[in-house]
């Protein structure tokens, strides 16, 4: 299957899972799924399927925890989460809630949900891995709105100070937050300038161009600096009426909208049953 088709199938799975649960942060999941696909399905993140908690594994911390359905679907894709587990999303008795819970499944490295925590957690892991002389990478995925949290900048300062060149921070820069555009709510000039000033080596990419994502992830930062990838994305990517519309931060489609989703993601009626 062509890669865009594969990603469309992942989005379809995200939607069906969310539909059965009755709620999910769909638009955020759609903006970050391409990045997660490249991380896990293009050989970037190193993990052992038979030994998923290997201490020297790479770690992905989804600090913007509300997009966790995208992570669950990718972990399902690589066999870390079973189909039954995935379909239990947000149901009574499930390990998989609407925000990630540490160790609920292999690949879920941190309990996130309250924004502005994941980078500090990643800093701690990156320090510990350096102390142990591991040759692994720690990936932390932030939202651009999340960067309004002051704790992100405490963590950024410390990442550079401790020379954490094993740390890769990714901003899913979809330019929207819950109520409006990030620009309208808390305007900033340039993420790149700010992170560079905090001691990061920064790269800006089109976050829906798989080759650009891959190139950015494999580029080695110089001078012992942590790396920042600003991944320009479209919130709600792949569903026309959700794209770049703030209200889709946490909402499910009505009957008419559902028909559009079905047509655009190729979902059959029977796939939404049960």
């Amino acid at each position: 299957m062509e890669e865009r088709e594969k990603i469309k199938a992942l989005k379809k799975k995200i939607f069906i899972t969310a539909y059965k649960a009755g709620a999910a942060h769909l638009a955020s999941s759609f903006s970050v799924i391409d990045m997660l696909y490249v991380l896990y399905c293009k050989g970037i993140v190193r993990y052992e399927p038979g030994n998923p908690w290997n201490e020297e594994r790479d770690r992905v911390i989804l600090s913007k925890g509300h997009a966790c359905l995208a992570l669950y679907v990718i972990l399902n894709e690589i066999g870390m989460i079973s189909d039954d587990e995935l379909m239990s999303f947000c149901q009574p008795g499930s390990h998989l809630g609407g925000e990630p819970k540490m160790e609920a499944a292999p690949g879920i490295e941190a309990s996130t949900g309250s924004l502005g925590h994941g980078l500090s957690f990643g800093v701690g892991i990156a320090i510990a891995c350096k102390m142990n002389h591991y040759n692994n990478k720690i990936y932390v995925i932030l939202g651009d709105g999340e960067c309004q949290e002051g704790s992100v900048w405490e963590a950024a300062m410390s990442a550079a100070n401790f020379g954490l060149d094993n740390l890769v921070v990714i901003i899913d820069d979809n330019r929207l937050q819950a109520m409006d555009s990030v620009e309208a709510i808390m305007s900033i000039d340039s993420w790149s300038d700010k992170w560079e000033a905090f001691g990061f080596e920064t790269i800006e990419i089109d976050g829906h161009n798989l080759k650009e994502i891959e190139n950015a992830l494999v580029t080695k930062p110089g001078n012992g600096k942590p790396k920042l990838i600003i991944s320009h994305t479209i919130k709600g990517h792949g569903v026309s009426f959700m794209e770049e519309v703030p209200i889709w931060h946490f909402r499910m489609p009505n009957k008419e909208e559902l028909e559009i989703v079905k047509a655009e993601l190729g979902i059959l009626d029977e796939e939404l049953k049960g």
Partner: protein
């Protein structure tokens, strides 16, 4: 107390290379030995307590045993959500050591006091909360803290008096008897034990023989043992450098309700106010009714009324 903690930490670091030390721009000079001998295990996070707490959780998730150290007000208040979500909810093996608890920073006022922290910290699931009164308790608490796998908070204050004999034994959750007596039981936590001991001496000259116990563990509490101690004494006084709402008095009241015992009781602490005034610790305690004279007078009045 602080030096006892630092000596114990140094010994643990010598014994176990997973022990690491995190500070937030605090501990100049006193951390010199640790920094000199274990520089690769010493991390100064600067003035960013939330980041430090969560980074400690990350380190613990990789098998490190972080001891996080700074002024307790900035740990318990500033970093509370980080402590809750990343250390306690994720049940990470992080040891948090707050210095200058209660009114210790007596010249600096309420921004540097911790007089509501017991309520906040006791209500965090998975967190063990210690509040030592003397150096002997600190030494024992450090041994227990290292043995436990899970989050621990140690509420340090200033006290150089030692009331225990060298062979004193302590049990987690059980208040330790600092002074024997049979007229009334006085429960206290932290360095305020000094004022309480002075008050107890004066009460004795009035024929009131107060038993003084140090509640060195604020969570978990051995409810049966505490209920037994209270029932045996027949009347209870709780003294704390803390708001009486959510502090030691509240914790002991919970025990009494759970264990279905009721005895005449008195709460001496901050009555839902921030502490007033500045000066030496003695002065600020006196300004807030927590000096030995006021404690003595209140207990005398209470005892005479029952």
């Amino acid at each position: 107390m602080r030096n006892t903690y630092l000596n114990a930490l140094y010994e643990l670091a010598k014994k176990d290379e997973e022990v690491v030390s995190l500070v937030a721009d605090n501990g100049l000079i006193v951390y010199d030995d640790f920094r000199r001998d274990f520089p690769e295990r010493y991390f100064n996070f600067g003035i960013s307590e939330g980041n430090m707490i969560t980074a400690a959780a990350g380190m613990a998730s990789c098998g490190k045993i972080p001891f996080v150290y700074t002024i307790s007000a900035f740990l318990a208040y500033r970093a509370y959500e980080f402590l809750r979500d990343d250390v306690c909810f994720q049940n990470q093996n992080v040891k948090i050591v707050g210095i200058g608890s209660g009114l210790t920073y007596s010249t600096l006022g309420p921004s540097h006091h911790t007089t509501e922290d017991i309520g906040l910290l006791r209500s965090l699931p998975n967190l063990t909360v210690f509040s030592p009164s003397t150096r002997a308790e600190v030494k024992w608490i450090m041994e227990e803290t290292y043995k436990m796998k899970g989050p621990v908070y140690i509420r340090l204050s200033n006290n150089s008096e030692e009331y225990y004999k060298e062979d004193a034994e302590f049990v987690i959750g059980q208040p330790a008897v600092v002074r024997a007596g049979n007229s009334v039981i006085i429960m206290v936590t932290g360095a305020l034990v000094n004022e309480v001991m002075e008050a107890a001496e004066r009460l004795e000259s009035d024929g009131i023989y107060a038993e003084v116990v140090s509640v060195h563990t604020l969570k978990p509490l051995d409810t049966k043992k505490i209920a037994e101690m209270i029932a045996k004494a027949g009347s209870l006084v709780v003294v704390e450098e803390h708001n009486v709402i959510g502090g030691l008095y509240s914790a002991i009241a919970e025990v009494m309700a759970m264990e279905k015992i009721m005895v005449p009781n008195l709460a001496i602490g901050l009555q839902d106010v921030f502490a007033v005034d500045y000066g030496q610790l003695k002065d600020v305690r006196a300004a807030n009714g927590l000096d030995s004279t006021t404690i003595y007078e209140k207990i005398k009045l209470f005892f005479d009324s029952i």
